[in-house]
Amino acid sequence: MGDSNATYLNATKGLKSWLVTIDHKRIGLMYLASVLFFFLAGGTFAILFRTELFTAKGDLFSADTYNSFFTLHGVIMVFLVIIPSVPAALGNFVLPLMLGAKDVAFPKLNLLSLYIYWTGSIIALCTIIFGHVDTGWTFYTPYSSNQGSSVVWMTFAAFVLGFSSILTGMNFVVTVHKLRAPGMTWFRMPLFVWGIYATSIIQVMATPVLGITLLLLIMENMVGIGIFNPNLGGDPVLFQHFFWFYSHPAVYIMILPGMAVQSELIAVFSQKKIFGYKFIAFSSLAIALISFIVWGHHMFVSGQSELIAMIFSFLTFLVAIPSGVKVFNWLYTLRHGSIRLNTPMIWALNFMVLFTIGGLTGLHLGTMSVDVHLHDTYFVVAHFHYVMMGGTLMTFMGGIYYWWPKITGKMYNEKWGRIAAAGVGVSFMVTFLPQFIMGAQGMPRRYYQYIEQYEKFHQMSTIGAYMLGAFFTMGAVVLVMSLRGSNFALDNPWNARTLEWTHTATPPVEHNFIGQPVVMYGPYDYDAPESSDTLESLAVRDGQTSETA
């Protein structure tokens, strides 16, 4: 470790050194590559079926092909992209660094969960190539219970991926509890850590139920147990309860890490203490807890009793409060700041706009009578793209650009990065805003062909999707080019105050820190100049300063 030029990237060499590594940074990086690959795959499916939807008639490919495409799109985006995106990819890389730890609590388990993720995704890929799954990502019974082996394999893939998610979650919970550096009190933890912590709790508590649900579904397909089969005395709606008991918390598994990144970006790029630190921290926990008891809002028209529906609606609204608290606190952090519109910040502003729209339209859906009209229309499709893609994915991108210098040691081209980020924001609106309108007009989702009345909205949406493809590609090119360029990054190019920037080199050394960092200040203490100087001096390398033009 004595060699000051050795980073985690070149400490050991060769493919094998990566495949058997237990370094959380390398594991995070491998997750990152996989997730981006699957994002490309899921996006490609979207582009394909959006092309089909350009005209009202089904003329490009067959109905079955369309159905399996949106299913694959949904499954890939949810289980292979969004859920592992921030926690497994960025979280793995950043969380131990932020805590001042040398690694996660169980490094081998961490590697194991990467392999489980790979196994799950390979099974999913094989199913895509060799099979035909057209159940939608929700796998509703009884349709899904006699679709043959492809469904079994796809659910098995989701089942396996669930375990990966559980193990990662457990690892992070224990890491946060047991591996904080001296001086890293709970309230000195960066909000990123709080967000990931809350997420991990949901992952550990909710995913097992998904596991058992999918297992029951597999059994249903293989031996026809009949639990979800009305002809055998079973109850098809029970599946929905099981499924949403996991999948509703899962949507917060998706958004909490996004919010976690958002807190970092907003604070750093305003050079200000985050406003309402404790409120943001605890609102993550509040969201995590409430999220377990609102699943029934997906089932307002499934014939559940009015009383139960009412309780679910009420609780659904409660979740909006902590989400709102976060949004307002971010907004207020900007005030009186010293704001830099770097690429990560553009993504963060995208998030503010898009997530707010997505969240607010969630209120339309949580309102029972309005949901009866909107349920399973494109309004819902638009809602969840605004929160998942406009929310989590924007901050995921923001996080990639923010930590890119730390991860790779290279700086990307700011100008083109900004253009790509802003372009995605605009294209997003073009793609999904029309979907609210046609949804309200009654356009049902999962339709391969539709009545002509909706054609103009669909056409706009398709054009938007092409634009999205173009701008994401641009964003990817910016990053790839930076790797080939020689614009080396400073140790702390954004002048951040968290340990991964202040206490370690860029890129970090193999075991993160030289010596044990000791934490004396909060994660956003921009008003402690003398302190920040000492903090930085530890990390400054080659005489560089932390300010960039």
């Binding site: 470790m1 730890a101 040398k102 690694d103 996660v104 609590a105 169980f106 490094p107 388990l109 559980i166 457990m170 690892n171 919970v173 224990v174 509890h177 047991k178 591996l179 550990v204 508590m205 995913t207 097992p208 139920v209 596991g211 058992i212 649900t213 297992l215 029951l216 059994m219 249903e220 031996v223 026809g224 147990i225 009949g226 639990i227 002809n231 055998l232 005395g233 079973g234 109850d235 029970l238 099981f242 193999e510 075991h511 044990q516």
Partner: protein, 220 residues
Amino acid sequence: MGHGTVTTGKFPLGHHWGTPNQQLEAGKMGMWLFLATEVLIFGGLFCAYIVYRNLHPEVYVTAHHYLDTTMGAINTVVLLTSSLTVALAIRAAQVNDQKWLKLHLIITIVCAGAFLVIKYLEYSHKFHIGLLPGEYFTASSVNIPNPDQVQLFFGIYFLMTGLHGIHVVIGMIILGCMLYRSVRGDFGPHYFEPIELSGLYWHLVDLIWIFLFPLLYLIH
């Protein structure tokens, strides 16, 4: 504190830990979290059980007569014994009683094996007369009033006991590893964490059976 594995006495300290105690605590916490997920997995099945019992109470009452309560009871005793012996094994490690450490582990594994043998006998009887889940339910020889729904009971029965059985097998493998490591002499008063954690797991496997037994075999 460097990297790689540092050994303090017999304690293998991971490179990223400050003190053995920290590592131990973390291991225990991880295990408890893992056990929580196990409880939730079975919790899901218990929910399914409850829903169907409410939907078709009569089916449960009829069908449970086809389970062998004696065998179930024997199995309960066997598992309880093994829970005791695994606890004694941990104790033995703590007081550095190497002989009883191994012996208790062996007894535990034997009990687990016995449990599986008895389960096998039960299963094969049901296979024989066709009391099987779902499509394979062919118990025409048995005089059951509404077989369409009775198969549901057996679906749940096989799922729950089957999943539990898998846990027993995994437990045997883990305890086997512990036995191997005890023979190698890994454990002593300074280092017994793996045995303790395996013991925790084994207790959970027992506990689940304690719930399964009355719910499936003793229905009124």
